[in-house]
């Protein structure tokens, strides 16, 4: 009997059989009807087979690998929780990093998951479709594991339980929400540039500094492990974004100006989003790793610079905002913390005045700007605090129509003046934090006039808890903000004197002494 022994397949053949070979061209309906979204952004694709799969992982291997990661992660989380791991962090102030993280990040992971599910459905090529599907599953998993790792803290500390409710209502969570809302309502290719390229490639390392290294430095084994388990997916995410950029640029010369505009736009939007991440590094981690400025220089200026040097071969130029971000790296984290410090009643995490040692650290890390512009503010506030008059700004902020951060950054070249920009569209005036956001607006005004900005909408009675009669004669807009936000009273006010501070000290005492 003749028996043919099949030759063992190479990795590449195995991958091809398990991905591209499983796809087919539709016959009952024309392909362009089945994939209707890939053309309307103006991107021209002539040959989907030219897509080079940057990461050859088959679905079966993917499931096995991810399942094993989950088992390992949850074993570590359980051990952390059982041993009261929350008491081993450096300082109760650290927990405020988790509060801000929980409100801002897992909901965005969820949006990324939804985005990649949608985009994966639209990609004609099987390679990108499979990669998008895996990334979608990764993002759902990251969302879930982040929530699980922080849920243990929710048993002990304030300000964590309503993160999902607050995500679309809290003024300071709106910038991240707006970033993903903008991306997910764009076309599939712009989404890939926004999330796959700008977020996952250009900016992700800066995000990991406070969340993995920060957790490790401050004794939070749970968050650190979640970070490591997510980081093993990141390389795949980065290469997907890069491959998509290459693919578009190589498929047709007409794609270049479109891609360039997206790179300009999303690098800027990502930069704005990172201001609050930088603030965590400079102000919120009790034990610091490096300054935001240092991280920006390594990860954006050096690594990002190397990427843009390579992209120049395609005719891509450095994002327009590049010089401005270099100027701003010495300012934005200070301006952010000042902005947060002054709103102790309107946030789901505590703020505090930097200690004298921390002020000195900031002076050392920001020799050009800190003593000149920011130290005087903190020293003034420390005096007020000592006199029992902690500064508390009760007014509503104005937010940028595009990035939705509060308008608080300085005029380029002039650190003493706040930068305001405005634009009139159909008789209405819109406000922006910068020239870049104004330009983004003016390119697609119909999109951005729809931005829901709570600090503006509240004045129209649109931010009220259920049951409030906005037509009542004595209705006063914004008088129920605590209920609207579902803000825990325990998380209001300065960290010093907070319940978290007292409890942490008392429990640590119990845990370490008889």
């Amino acid at each position: 009997m003749d028996m043919k022994v099949a030759k063992k397949l190479g990795l590449k053949e195995r991958y091809t059989m398990m991905t591209r070979d499983l796809a087919w061209d539709t016959t009952y309906q024309p392909m362009d009807k089945v994939f209707p979204q890939v053309t309307y952004e103006g991107i021209k694709i002539h040959d989907w087979d030219k897509w080079e799969d940057p990461f050859r992982l088959t679905m079966d291997a993917y499931w096995k690998y991810q399942a094993e990661k989950e088992r390992k992660l949850y074993a570590i989380l359980d051990a952390f929780n059982q041993n009261n791991g929350h008491l081993s962090v450096t300082d109760a102030r650290y927990i405020n990093v988790l509060k801000l993280f929980l409100g801002s990040t897992p909901p965005l992971e969820l949006m990324a998951g939804r985005g990649f599910s949608m985009v994966g459905r639209q990609m004609v090529g099987a390679g990108p479709r499979v990669a998008c599907m895996m990334q979608a599953v990764d993002e759902y998993r990251h969302c879930q594991t982040q929530i699980h790792s922080i849920s243990n803290y929710n048993k002990f500390y304030s300000g964590l339980s309503e993160f999902a409710h607050q995500q679309s209502r809290m003024w300071y969570l709106a910038d991240g929400k707006s970033f993903f809302d903008d991306a997910i309502t764009a076309g599939p290719f712009e989404f890939m540039v926004a999330i796959g390229f700008a977020f996952e490639y250009v900016l992700t390392n800066i995000l990991f500094v406070p969340f993995i290294s920060g957790a490790a430095y401050n004794g939070d084994m749970a968050a650190m492990t979640v970070g490591f388990s997510a980081q093993s997916d990141e390389a795949r995410h980065m290469t997907l974004g890069l491959e998509c950029i290459k693919f578009m640029l190589e498929q047709d010369p007409d794609n270049l100006p479109i891609v360039q505009r997206w790179i300009d736009k999303w690098t800027w939007r990502g930069t704005r989003k990172l201001a609050s991440v930088g603030m965590m590094m400079d102000y919120m981690l009790p034990k610091r790793i490096m300054s935001f400025k240092e991280a920006w220089e390594i990860y954006f200026e050096e690594n990002g610079g190397a990427l843009f040097k390579d992209l120049a071969r395609y005719g891509v130029t450095v994002p327009k905002c590049f010089p401005q971000t270099i100027e701003e790296k010495e300012h934005i984290t200070h301006q952010s913390w000042i902005g947060f410090y002054m709103k102790p009643d309107a946030m789901s995490f505590h703020t505090w005045s930097p200690s004298p040692e921390e002020l000195d650290w900031l002076s050392e890390k920001y020799p050009n700007t800190f003593d000149k512009y920011y130290r005087p503010v903190y020293e003034h506030w420390a005096k007020m605090e000592k006199a029992g008059k902690r500064f508390n700004n009760k007014t509503q902020p104005m937010n940028c129509q595009v990035c939705v951060t509060t308008v608080k950054y300085n005029e380029p070249g002039d650190p003493m003046t706040t930068c305001f920009r405005e634009s009139i569209y159909k008789g209405e005036k819109y406000h922006f934090c910068s020239d870049h956001c104004k330009e983004i607006f003016e390119h697609e005004p119909e999109k951005y006039i729809q931005t829901f900005i709570t600090s503006h909408q509240v004045l129209q009675g649109k931010c009220e808890p259920e049951g409030v009669d906005t037509d009542a004669p004595d209705f006063k807009p914004g008088s129920h903000m605590m209920e609207y936000w579902r803000l825990d009273p325990d998380v209001q006010g300065d960290f010093n004197g907070s319940l978290d501070q007292k409890n942490f000290a008392a429990w640590r005492e119990l845990a370490t002494k008889n």
Partner: protein
């Protein structure tokens, strides 16, 4: 103690030093393994061990799970060898690579010629009628006397004349090796060498027109490749864009003019970047990439491009090719990956160029 590493599906075997990672050794040997973070976190460089033994080093427990360790997976960026080892990696097989084993040869200098004021042609006849089998584009390591050591030089002759090899060597100011060759080497001297080395060769299987872009003494490999294609009577279009500073530095000019006259599929485009304006030179004035852009009217699609020359020229040519719609998969350079690439000084946008 060093160990041997065999990399499948290439079937190539390389030496790995004690404490050296699989990734580092592979990149230094000119074998590109996919990688990204370089420190064991991201799992991009995961490979399968089919034989032998490794130490996983500092690979993260999430990037390389326990069950994967048991299944024989490892991360090339962290793994060091404990024994001779065979791995299977996710790499493309290049069907044009002949993987000719490296051998040692002895020869006698048979001819020396001044090709330009700074470049000498050196011919070496191999002893006992031996023939150096190589792929046009490859190089050898020439062992120089005393403690000078070995120097790498591309072969300028076509493989058909493997008994007498030709090297075109530019004097490097202050360079010991090239200084010795220019000043002391004479006809009749005996030298030893090893080869062939390198992953730069003609990709004939594609069946596409070839574009060679050469600058200065980077002409050696393209000359060998062009001569071989013409000897093989290839009918596909072949273009050589060759740049030098001035007419005095332009060598084998007449040979290429004659070849172009004889072979209708061969086009020769010389370009001079620093030729006196009143010299009567009627050819292109400017750099190689500019000459190519003008000659091809900024449309390089459908070619295979081979680049040889100083790094600045290579970089300018890559940009010109890409903006003229020819991309990484069709561009080959003599530059190989070094340990620096593993250190992430470049972005991961491109793998080979």
């Amino acid at each position: 103690m060093s160990h041997e590493l065999t990399i499948e599906p290439l079937g190539r075997t390389i030496e790995v030093e004690e404490g050296q990672t699989i990734l580092d050794a592979s990149l230094r040997a000119g074998i590109y393994l996919p990688h990204a973070c370089g420190q064991g976190y991201c799992a991009t460089c995961k490979v399968t061990i089919t034989d032998g033994e490794v130490d996983h080093g500092s690979a993260s427990n999430f990037a390389l799970m326990d069950y994967e360790r048991e299944e024989g997976k490892t991360l090339a960026c962290c793994a060091t060898l404990e024994a001779d080892t065979v791995i299977e990696a996710d790499i493309e097989i290049d069907e044009d690579a002949r993987d000719i084993p490296v051998r040692d040869f002895h020869g006698t200098v048979s001819r020396i010629e001044n090709l330009t004021p700074t470049i000498k042609g050196i011919w070496l006849r191999l002893n006992n009628g031996e023939v150096l089998d190589f792929q046009a584009g490859q190089y050898i390591n020439l062992n120089l006397p005393g403690d000078i050591g070995a120097r790498a030089f591309s072969l300028a002759n076509p493989p058909s004349t493997g008994n007498e090899i030709e090297l075109n060597i530019r004097i490097v100011p202050g360079g010991r090796g090239t200084g010795w060759i220019h000043e002391s080497l004479k006809v009749g001297d005996k030298l030893s060498l090893s080869g062939p080395y390198g992953r730069f060769f003609t990709h004939k299987s594609a069946g596409l027109p070839s574009l060679f872009m050469a600058g200065g003494s980077g002409l050696s490999s393209p000359r060998s490749m062009v001569l071989e294609l013409l000897e093989e009577a290839s009918t596909l279009p072949i273009t050589l864009v060759y740049g030098a500073r001035n007419q005095a530095e332009l060598y084998y000019h007449q040979e290429f003019l004659d070849l172009a006259a004889k072979h209708p599929n061969f086009t020769y485009v010389p370009a001079l970047s620093d030729e006196p304006t009143d010299s009567g030179w009627s050819g292109f004035r400017g750099f190689v990439h500019e000459a190519a852009k003008a000659h091809f009217d900024n449309d390089f699609r459908g070619n295979k491009a081979y680049l040889c020359g100083p790094p600045v020229m290579i970089e300018a040519c890559i940009s010109a090719l890409m903006q003229g719609r020819l991309f990484e998969r069709d561009i080959y350079t003599e530059k190989f990956f070094s340990a620096a690439d593993a250190q992430q000084v470049r972005s991961p946008l491109f793998k080979r160029v």
